[in-house]
Amino acid sequence: MDLHLKIWRQKDGKTKGKLVNYDLKELNSHMSFLEMLDTLNEKLITEGEEPVEFDHDCREGICGQCGMMINGLAHGPLKNTTTCQLHLRSFKDGETIVIEPFRAEAFPIKRDLKVDRSAFDRIISSGGFVSINTGQAPDATAIAVTHQTAEEAFDSAACIGCGACVATCKNASAALFTSAKITHMVLLPQGKEERSKRVIDMVKQMDSELFGHCSNTEACEVECPQGISVLNIARMNYEYSRALFFGKK
C-alpha cells in the first residue's frame, strides 16, 4: 500500500518545528507502524537526510516508550493499543497520516517525535512505592490478599507510563497515571500504611510538574493502551480528601 505522511520535525526544544511531507510506496499491510517509520528512515538515510527520531524499545506494547499522536489520536486509531502494536492494516491505501509528538507543557519536546517524560519518574519518586527496604521482607503468605483484590490492584498496576493520557487530555493532566499508582498501592495491604502521605505527596508533585487539572473529560481512559479506568481518578480524589481530613496517617 501507499501512504502520505506528514511528520513533525523539530531539531530541539528551542527550535521551531513544522510538519514535513513524506511519501512511501508499496508497503506491506502486515508491517507495524514503527516498521513503517524504520522503512522511511532507511530511505532518508540513504538519501542523505537525517532520520526521524522517535522513542521505542520493546515493540511489544509493554515498555511504554513508544507513543505519538497519529491523526490526532494518542497511539493511533485502535483502542487499548500502543503505537508499536499498531499495524498498517488499520489504515487505508493512499491515506494521509499526520504524526506528531505527545504534546504537553510537562513533556518538553526533545527532537522530532521524542519528548521528555521524566516528570512521571519524579511523581513516582515522591511516593509511589512501599517503604520496605530490600533483603528482609516478611513471608509472603503472612498476609492474604483475595484473588479479586490482587486482580483489581493489577488492573491499576498495569499502567506502562506511556503518557498518552496526558497527551490526549485537553488540560494535559497526569491524573490517570498518578491515580493508577495510588490505586495499585492502596488496594494492597502492603501499601495501606502510607496511603495518606503517599497521595498528598504524589498529588503535590504532579501539580508542581506543570500538569493540568483533571476536569473529568475522560479522554484519557479512551486512549490508554492499558485500559486504565477513570475510576482510579475517583479513587485518588477520595484518597486525597480522606488524607486531608485524617491528616498524614
Binding site: 521505542h56 511504554g64 502494536q85 512521571f120 509511589g128 490478599v145 495499585h184 502492603q190
Partner: protein
C-alpha cells in the same frame, strides 16, 4: 591465567550462609565515602542500586531508556520461579537446584545454582512486600503454576506480565532512593567504556544520548547489569535497544567472556512475516501448559488448520517426548520445531512456523477459563497477526531470546577485573547451557537484592581508605579520547549502506551458522564472513547526523560494531565445543535419533575467553566444573 571461582568451603547447603557469615562489612559511617556505579536499571540493576542506596553508599544509576522503568525486564511474561512448595507437590530448594542444574545440561556451577534456588524463597517475599500483585487463589494465598521443563508448580506470575510487575517493584525501590538522594539517576545515558586504574574498575565513560556529550564518572566499584545480547541475531524477542556493548567494552579492558555461544532460542515466538520485520514477539511460554503443538503430517499442506483432521496432525513433541510433551524444555522444543520446519512441514505464508492449538483446552475448560489465563496474549496475537486464536490455532516459531553467556564472574559475581561486577543476564552465571523458563527474572533479582549487596560490600571493605577517585586520572582521559575517536570515525565513514543493513546481515549469518544448529564447516565460514562484513562496515556504513547531538543511528552503529566482534567470538566458542549441550547443538555430535550428545569427559568446563587484540584469535581459558552433589546424567525428556 587460572580462574578462581571462589566457591566457599563446606557442604552445598551451607556455602552461602558460610560466605555471608565471614564476608567483610563496611561500617555505616564509612559507606558515605564509597561510590558505586550501576549500569542498567533492569531487575538486576534497579535492585542492586536500591539495595546499595539504602545501605548508604553513593550510587549512580545509568540506563539508555528515557526512564529506568522501561528496562527490558519489563517484557518478562510467564513468571518467576521460587521453591516455595505452596502446592505441596514435593518442591524444595534441593529439587529446584537439581532441576536447574539438569536443565542447564550440567554446564553450570553447583554452588551458584544452589544459591539461586535458596534465594528464590526470599524473592517472592520481597516482591510481595513491595506490592507486586502476584496471581492469588480465591482464598487469598499465592498461586503458582508449572512452566516448561519442570514437573512441579513453582512459577509465580502476575498475569502474563510478571517482568513488568517485578520491575515496577524494583524501579519503585530505586525511585524511592532517588527521592532520598542516595542514588543519582542518569537515564538516556549509554556506557561506552570502562575505566581501569591500576588493574581495578574505577569508572565509566558515558554518552548523554540527548546532547551527545561524553562524560566521565568515577567510582570505587562498577556494576554492569546491562542485560542480554540476543539482539545480535537482529530478529529476536528482545527490545530494539538491547545490546552487548557494555560487557564487550569491559571484555576488551580485560574481563573474560564466558560461554558466548550459548544463546537460547525460544520455541514460542511469532514467526517472521517479511524482511521489513524488526523483531519477533514472544508468546509466553505459559501457553504451552494448555496449547498443543503440531504440524500437518503431510508435506506442503495447503489446507487451513481447522480443515486438517485429527489423524493428519503430527503432535511431534507429544510423540517424541511423551513424558514432557508440549512442556519439553526450550532447547528441545525449539530444535524439534526447526527439524519439522526444515523437513518441509512448516506452516504459514513463509512455511516457517508450527501450530499452537488451544481447541482441546477450550473444549475441556471453556473459553472463559482460557480467556482468564491467557486473554492478554490472545489479544496481542490478534493485534499483531490479525488472527483470532480462539477460532484457529496460533502460529509460532523459534526465535533468539536469551543469552546464557556473558561476562565470566566468580561466586561473588565479580569479573576478572577487580571491582567490576556483572549481574543478571549480563553475566554467564547460573543457567548452564540452557535456561529453564522463569529462572532469569529470578536470577536477575536475586543477584541484585540478595547476593551482590554482600559481595560488593566485601570488596568495598578494602576500599575505605582509597579516597575519592579522580576523573582527572590519565586513564579517564585515554578512555574518553578513544570513545570520541570512535564516534567521529563512525560519522565520517559516510558510506552507502545503513546500520540496520549490517545488523540484519550479521544476524542472518549467525542464525544460519551459529543458531539452533552448528557445524565445524559452517562456523569457520561464518568467522570469515563476519570478518569481511565488519571490514565492509567500517568502509561503507552510513551514519547520518552529528556526534554532538541526539543521534539514534550513531547509537545503533556503535552497538553493531561490537556485535561483529561478539558474533565472531560466539563462533569461536561454538567451534571449540565438540559436543552438543543445551542451546549448543553441534550437528556432528548427536545420537542416532537426533538428540544432543554431550561429552562430559572432555567438555565439563566453562569456556572463558580473553581478548587478545583487534583481529586476533581469542584465547580460551577453562574453568573445570566439579560436581560433588549431583552426578551428571544424560538429560532425557522421553
Amino acid at each position: 591465567m587460572m580462574l578462581d571461582s571462589k566457591i566457599p568451603q563446606g557442604p552445598l547447603e551451607q556455602k552461602w550462609t558460610n560466605y555471608k557469615k565471614t564476608a567483610k562489612l563496611v561500617n555505616p559511617a564509612n559507606r558515605k565515602k564509597l561510590d558505586v556505579i550501576v549500569v542498567g536499571t533492569g531487575l538486576a540493576g534497579s535492585s542492586i542500586a536500591a539495595s546499595l542506596g539504602e545501605m548508604g553508599y553513593n550510587v549512580k544509576s545509568f540506563c539508555f531508556q528515557d526512564s529506568p522503568r522501561r528496562a527490558h525486564s519489563v517484557a518478562g511474561q510467564g513468571g518467576v520461579n521460587a521453591a516455595k512448595n505452596y502446592k505441596n507437590d514435593g518442591d524444595s530448594v534441593y529439587r529446584m537446584f537439581v532441576d536447574t542444574l539438569k536443565g542447564g545440561d550440567f554446564r553450570a556451577r553447583e554452588a551458584n545454582v544452589y544459591r539461586m534456588a535458596e534465594c528464590s524463597l526470599n524473592l517472592i517475599d520481597q516482591a510481595v512486600a513491595q506490592g507486586v500483585p502476584f496471581g492469588r487463589e480465591y482464598g487469598g494465598y499465592l498461586n503458582n503454576r508449572s512452566f516448561g521443563g519442570v514437573q512441579v508448580s513453582r512459577t509465580f506470575y502476575a498475569r502474563g506480565q510478571t517482568g513488568q510487575q517485578l520491575l515496577l517493584g524494583a524501579y519503585q525501590a530505586l525511585m524511592r532512593q532517588v527521592g532520598k538522594k542516595t542514588i543519582e539517576l542518569f537515564s538516556r545515558h549509554e556506557m561506552l567504556d570502562l575505566v581501569v586504574i591500576d588493574g581495578k574498575a574505577r569508572g565509566v565513560i558515558v554518552r548523554n544520548l540527548d546532547t551527545g556529550e561524553i562524560e566521565r564518572h568515577a567510582a570505587h566499584a562498577v556494576v554492569l547489569a546491562t542485560g542480554g545480547y540476543g539482539k545480535i541475531y537482529y530478529l529476536s524477542t528482545l527490545a530494539m535497544g538491547c545490546n552487548g556493548s557494555a560487557i564487550w567494552r569491559a571484555h576488551k579492558k580485560g574481563a573474560l567472556m564466558a560461554s558466548p555461544s550459548w544463546i537460547q532460542v525460544h520455541p514460542t515466538s511469532l514467526p517472521q512475516s517479511g524482511d521489513y520485520q524488526s523483531k519477533l514477539t514472544l508468546m509466553s511460554e505459559s501457553l504451552r501448559n494448555d496449547g498443543r503443538i503440531w504440524v500437518p503430517s503431510k508435506e506442503n499442506e495447503t489446507r487451513a488448520a481447522n480443515d486438517i483432521p485429527e489423524n493428519e496432525r503430527d503432535y511431534y513433541l507429544e510423540r517424541r517426548y511423551p513424558a514432557f510433551g508440549n512442556l519439553a524444555p526450550r532447547d528441545i522444543s525449539s530444535r524439534a520445531a526447526k527439524e519439522r520446519i526444515d523437513a518441509g512441514f512448516g506452516i504459514g505464508p513463509l512455511k516457517n512456523a508450527v501450530y499452537l492449538d488451544f481447541s482441546k483446552a477450550i473444549k475441556e475448560q471453556g473459553k472463559e477459563k482460557i480467556q482468564e489465563k491467557y486473554g492478554n496474549l490472545f489479544d496481542m496475537y490478534l493485534k499483531i497477526t490479525g488472527y483470532d486464536a480462539y477460532q484457529e490455532p496460533m502460529m509460532i516459531s523459534p526465535s533468539a531470546h536469551f543469552s546464557m553467556g556473558g561476562l565470566w564472574v566468580d561466586y561473588e559475581l565479580m569479573t576478572t577485573i577487580p571491582g567490576l561486577f556483572a549481574l543478571g543476564e549480563a553475566n554467564f552465571a547460573d543457567h548452564g547451557a540452557n535456561r529453564l523458563g522463569a529462572n532469569s527474572l529470578l536470577q536477575a533479582s536475586v543477584d541484585g537484592y540478595f547476593i551482590a549487596p554482600y559481595t560488593i560490600a566485601n570488596y568495598l571493605s578494602n576500599e575505605i581508605h582509597t579516597g575519592k577517585i579522580s576523573t582527572e586520572d590519565p586513564a579517564f582521559e585515554k578512555a574518553e579520547n578513544a570513545v570520541k575517536q570512535q564516534v567521529e570515525n563512525l560519522i565520517n565513514i559516510n558510506g552507502t549502506k545503513t546500520v540496520d543493513h549490517y545488523h540484519k546481515t550479521l544476524g542472518k549469518l549467525l542464525y544460519d551458522y551459529c543458531g539452533l544448529a552448528r557445524n565445524e564447516k559452517g562456523l569457520k565460514y561464518a568467522i570469515q564472513e563476519i570478518q569481511k562484513l565488519k571490514a565492509e562496515f567500517y568502509r561503507n556504513v552510513k551514519v547520518s547526523g552529528q556526534g554532538n547531538s541526539m543521534n539514534t543511528e550513531l547509537e545503533k552503529a556503535g552497538r553493531v560494531a561490537d556485535y561483529f566482534e561478539i558474533g565472531e567470538l560466539m563462533c569461536y566458542d561454538a567451534l571449540t565445543r565438540n559436543e552438543s549441550c543445551g542451546a549448543h547443538f553441534r550437528e556432528e555430535y548427536q545420537t542416532p535419533d537426533g538428540e544432543a550428545l554431550r561429552n562430559d569427559n572432555e567438555f565439563q568446563f566453562i569456556s572463558a575467553w580473553a581478548w587478545t587484540g583487534e583481529n586476533k584469535e581469542p584465547e580460551l581459558i577453562k574453568e573445570p566444573l566439579v560436581f560433588e552433589e549431583v552426578q551428571p546424567t544424560v538429560r532425557s525428556y522421553k
